[in-house]
Amino acid sequence: MLIGISLISFFIMHLAPGDITASESAFNPKASEESRQKLRALYNLDKPLITQYGLWLKRIVKLDFGNSFASHQRPVLWETKDDKGNVTKGMIQDALPITLMINLIGLIIIFVLSIFLGVVSAVNQNRWPDRLITVIVFIGFAIPGFWLALLLMYWTGVTHSWLPISGLHSAGYEKMGQIAQYLDLFKHLILPVFVSSLGGLASISLYVRNGMLDVLQQEFITTARAKGLTENKVVYGHALRNTLLPLITIVGLSIPGLIGGSVIGESIFAISGMGKLFFDAVLMRDFPVVMGILTIGSVLTLFGNLIADIGYAWADPRIRRGITN
């Protein structure tokens, strides 16, 4: 599986026309064909593809994603020390926590809100709360996130200056107290998190609604009602628990979408997370960074799916005990 991912990301990169030597020497008319060849040799770009892949794979196993092709030559994944003991921080090391933070907060909000919306919708099927929520959900599905981001940025940031519109920290962040720092971060996070979680919110609340409707039809719900349980207990104790199971898988599957979606969000809000790093790297044909992020992103996805599977087993006694049906 991992090998498949590495193969795909590697070959896509190298099928592409043009390489780093082209863009580096484009700015330098004096660069001769000879010096280009030297550059290629330096980065092993002159060897056949299979050899390049082998070399790359060999380093990946040691978690060495190489250094960026860009002029600063920072390591792609993690910090390194040079001979003088200077530490250079890795690019992904810097960017990943930011993206993870935004997406994790987003996921939590998605989870809580969509369960709430879905349940309200299902319990009031075809009455006005359901209709209203369905309309909102459909619009949430269809709204282009970057457009919403743009409008919100304009409205809350430019016209009213309620919220900061870019970056994660205000100027003078270092001088603030602990609490002021958190508050500042929180203010910067509101818009990006909102925009990144909207799509997921729509799809998952629709899913919860349909799941609840299915479960509420079943006989054990009728039994629970017949026992004289309160409606709250029936809905939250019996029905919701059964709806939540498949939800774990859905959330696991939505991870690649969330990571991918961060490209647009982070470019608009000028947040230097994985998405922006990737976008910049792609524009500069910075192979090691692009491949590093593709691989790390996919590993994260696999990891998310693994957690989802474990969560599934943890939540469902039937799976835990190895009973099928």
Binding site: M1, G4, I5, I8, S9, I12, M13, L15, A16, P17, G18, F138, I139, F141, A142, I143, P144, G145, F146, W147, L148, L150, L151, M153, Y154, V158, L213, Q217, L253, P256, G257, I259, G260, G261, V263, I264, S267, I268, F278, F279, V282, L283, R285, V290, I293, L294, G297, S298, T301, L302, N305
Partner: protein, 275 residues
Amino acid sequence: MKILTQNPLALSGFIIIVAVLFIAIFAPWLSPYDPNYIDIHSILLPPSVSHFMGTDGLGRDVFSRMLYGSRISLLVGIVAVGIATVIGTFLGAIAGFYRGYIDSIIMRFVDTMLSIPTFFLILAVIAFLTPSIWNIMIVIGLTSWMGVTRLVRAEFLSLRNREYILAAEAMGASDFRLISKHLLPNSLTPIIVTSVLGIASAVLTESGLSFLGLGVQAPQSSWGNILTDGKEYIQFAWWLSLFPGLAILITVLGYNLLGEGLRDLLDPKNKNQKK
């Protein structure tokens, strides 16, 4: 047609899509100006009678550009999803029909593709090719067939041992005939639903790419790249951002409504629920 009128959701989606289709086809006749005509005397004019949606930073008429932009999103949606559906159906059919190791190879490939963040993949490929509308369509198509494959495979697996299939097989029908005449027609419904929903997400992806500057290139207009201009001028010209976003929203909404409506209508499980 008759089915559509039973479901208000599907019907409204259908109307929206027909309207967009109409606009896209008749754009040259509907638009009051040449969409690429640069008029430096009328830069950034707000919406008025002569320019319904105002003008952009180069004095081009936004309304005309919007009309032409509808062609792009329509074309991208349909061609990309067409590619995805063909690949997905083909691989899914083979996997579901032959099972065994062919099935495992195909499904492992699907799993692998699914675990790479799609937008990253699209971005990587697009940025290395020259950005053009054809490349976008192909790349979106090539990165979105996995859902269809899973669906068709599941459908085939459940149909494969039905009696009518076994009967056809016993009568000596070839594999090709079994797949194309018996299995495929019976799995068509979910394929159609997924395709319609797929168009919606393809339209969104295209506008996102164009917004980042990696999609449709100027001077050709697409809703996404009008929005990019809008971003530059957002402090002085709200109309440049508002209208293309609304257009994307409405179009995507249309496909989603139609898709979900069709799913409700064609899914026998849902019919029982209503009784």
